[in-house]
C-alpha cells in the first residue's frame, strides 16, 4: 500500500530473493502518467511565472534586459533538468527490472545430487504418458552439458586436424552447440504452442539440454575409438534412449494424435540428425564413406589426413574388437 514507499529498496537490499514485490514500488515514479501529470503541472506553474515576469519586464526594459533573459534561461534549464531526471529515473527502473541477472537466480539453485539424478533420468524413458510428467526447470545442468559438448567437439576437431576455412574452431563449436540448444528449443516451443502442449520455454530448454547428455557420451566415446559400427550402435541406443525420453515427456503433455505426431516427430528427427551431423562433420571419416555419401560435392571444410599414433590407437581398436567379440 501507500505506507510502504521504501519497500522496493528494502527488497533489493534483502539479498537472496529474486522476487520483486511490485506493490511496494516507489509510487512517485511508478506510472508515467503521474510523472507527466507532475511535469505538466510544473510547466504550467513555470509558464505562469514567466508570463508574470514578462508582463512586469515589459514596463522596465533597459535595466532589466539581462536579468529577464537570465531568468528565462534559468527556467528553461530547470525544465530541461527536470525532464532529464525523470527520464533517467524511468530508464534506470526499467533497466533494473529487465536486465536484472537475478531473474535467472532460481534456475541455478541446485545441488550435485539433483544434477546427477537428472542426468541419469535423462536416459530413461518414462512409461506413463497419460499423466503429465514433471520437468525440472533448471538451467545449470543444461548449460554445463552444452559447454561439455563444445569441449568434446573442440577435442574432436583438434585430434582430427579439422581446418575450418571461414571462422575459428572455437567459434564454430560454440556456435553449433548453442545454436542447436537455443534454436531447436525455441522452434519446438513454437510448435508446442501451435499444438497446445503444456510446456514453458525454460522447461523446453531444460529438457533439450539434458537430452544432449546422450550426445556427449556418444561423441566422447566415438571420437576416440574409431569404429563405424560402434558409432551406429551408440547412435541408435544412446541417442535413441535420450530421444525417447524427451518424446515421452512431450507426449504426456500434449493432447491429440496429430499434434503428438507433429511435435514428437520433429523433435526426434532433429535430435537424431544432429548427432549424425556432429559425428560426420567434425571428425576424421574413413575415405570410402565420404565418397559414397557426398560424391562430387566438395565438403565445406578440408580434412587433412593425420598421422595416427600407431601404438595407442591400435591398442584401443583391438580392445574394442575384443570387447565386441566377447559380447
Amino acid at each position: 500500500g501507500t505506507a510502504d514507499w521504501g519497500g522496493f529498496e528494502d527488497n533489493m537490499q534483502g539479498g537472496g530473493s529474486a522476487v520483486i514485490d511490485m506493490e511496494n514500488m516507489d509510487d512517485t515514479s511508478g506510472s508515467s502518467f503521474e510523472d507527466m501529470g507532475e511535469m505538466h503541472q510544473r510547466m504550467k506553474e513555470e509558464e505562469e511565472e514567466e508570463a508574470e515576469g514578462e508582463a512586469g519586464a515589459a514596463e522596465e526594459e533597459d535595466g532589466e534586459f539581462l536579468g529577464m533573459k537570465g531568468l528565462r534561461g534559468q527556467l528553461g534549464r530547470q525544465v530541461a533538468d527536470q525532464m532529464w531526471q525523470v527520464g533517467k529515473r524511468q530508464a534506470s527502473k526499467a533497466f533494473s527490472l529487465y536486465a536484472n541477472i537475478d531473474i535467472l537466480r532460481p534456475y541455478f539453485d541446485v545441488e550435485p545430487v539433483q544434477v546427477r539424478t537428472r542426468l541419469l533420468e535423462s536416459m530413461i524413458p518414462v512409461k506413463m504418458i497419460n499423466f503429465p510428467q514433471k520437468i525440472a526447470g533448471e538451467l545449470y545442468g543444461p548449460l554445463m552439458l552444452v559447454f561439455t559438448l563444445v569441449a568434446i567437439l573442440l577435442h574432436g576437431m583438434k585430434t582430427s586436424d579439422t581446418i575450418i576455412r571461414e571462422g575459428t574452431l572455437m567459434g564454430t563449436a560454440i556456435g553449433t552447440c548453442f545454436g542447436y540448444w537455443l534454436g531447436v528449443s525455441s522452434f519446438i516451443y513454437f510448435l508446442a504452442y501451435l499444438c497446445n502442449a503444456q510446456i514453458t520455454m525454460v522447461q523446453m530448454l531444460s529438457l533439450l539440454g539434458y537430452g544432449l547428455f546422450g550426445h556427449c557420451i556418444t561423441l566422447f566415446v566415438t571420437y576416440n575409438i574409431h569404429f563405424h559400427s560402434l558409432f551406429y550402435i551408440f547412435w541408435l541406443v544412446v541417442g535413441g534412449l535420450s530421444t525417447l525420453r524427451m518424446v515421452a515427456v512431450l507426449v504426456s503433455r500434449t493432447v491429440g494424435h496429430t499434434q503428438r505426431l507433429i511435435l514428437c516427430g520433429t523433435l526426434a528427427a532433429l535430435h537424431m540428425l544432429f548427432l549424425l551431423y556432429l559425428h560426420f562433420a567434425y571428425h576424421k571419416v574413413v575415405e570410402g564413406i565420404l565418397d559414397t555419401l557426398e560424391g562430387p560435392n566438395m565438403p565445406p571444410f578440408q580434412r587433412v589426413a593425420r598421422d595416427i599414433p600407431v601404438v595407442s590407437n591400435a591398442v584401443l581398436n583391438t580392445t574394442a574388437k575384443a570387447v565386441a567379440l566377447t559380447l
Binding site: G15, I101, F108, D109, P112, Y140, F147, A151, S312
Partner: protein, 220 residues
Amino acid sequence: RQYGGYEYSQQSGFIPPEMMQQQPYTGQIYQPTQTYTPTSAQSFYGSNFEDEPPLLEELGINFDHIWQKTLTVLHPLKVADGSIMNETDLAGPMVFCLAFGATLLLAGKIQFGYVYGISAIGCLGMFCLLNLMSMTGVSFGCVASVLGYCLLPMILLSTFAIVFSLQGVMGIILTAGIIGWCSFSASKIFISALAMEGQQLLVAYPCALLYGVFALISVF
C-alpha cells in the same frame, strides 16, 4: 589506509625561504639533504622523497600474500582461508599468464592471443555463473584473481610439453590430473570465499572445462 606507518601530512606545508636562510651556515654545504630532514618543527614538505611509501606498497603488490596464495594453490589438500581473497590482486595472475604464454612459446606455439582471449571470456563466464549461484555476490576482480592463481599447475604441464609430447596415454593421464588439480584448487578457494558448502563439485566442473581448454592449447 596507512602505508607502512607513514602518513601523508594534511597540511602540505610550504616553508618560506626566509626560514631556511635564517639557519646558520654550519659548513655542511656538500650535504644538502640534511636541510630537508623533518627534525625541526614544521619543516615537512607535502611529498618528501624519503617519506613516500615504497613503490611496491603503493602499487599494492604484496609479495607475502602472493606467496601465501601460491602455496594455497600448490597444496591441494591445504585448507583455504576465505579471507585471503578479500584483496583483489591481479599482479600474480598476470605473471602466471605471461609465464604460461612463455612456456608455450618455448614449445613453438605463439598463442598469447588465445591465452588472453580465453582467460577473459572464461573469467566473464565464471563471474556470471558464480553471481547466480552464490548468496553473496562476487566481484570480477576476485574471480579473475582466483582463476589466474590456479593456472599455476597448467604452467607445469606446458613446461612438460616442451620436452615430451603429450599425445600419448601418459600425456592424457597427466593432462587429466593437472586439470583436476587446477579445478580442485579453484573450487576450494571459491567455496571458502563465498561460503557455498556442498556445491564444490558444481563449481569445480565449469573450472575444469575452462582449464581443459587451456590444456587443449598446451597439448595440440
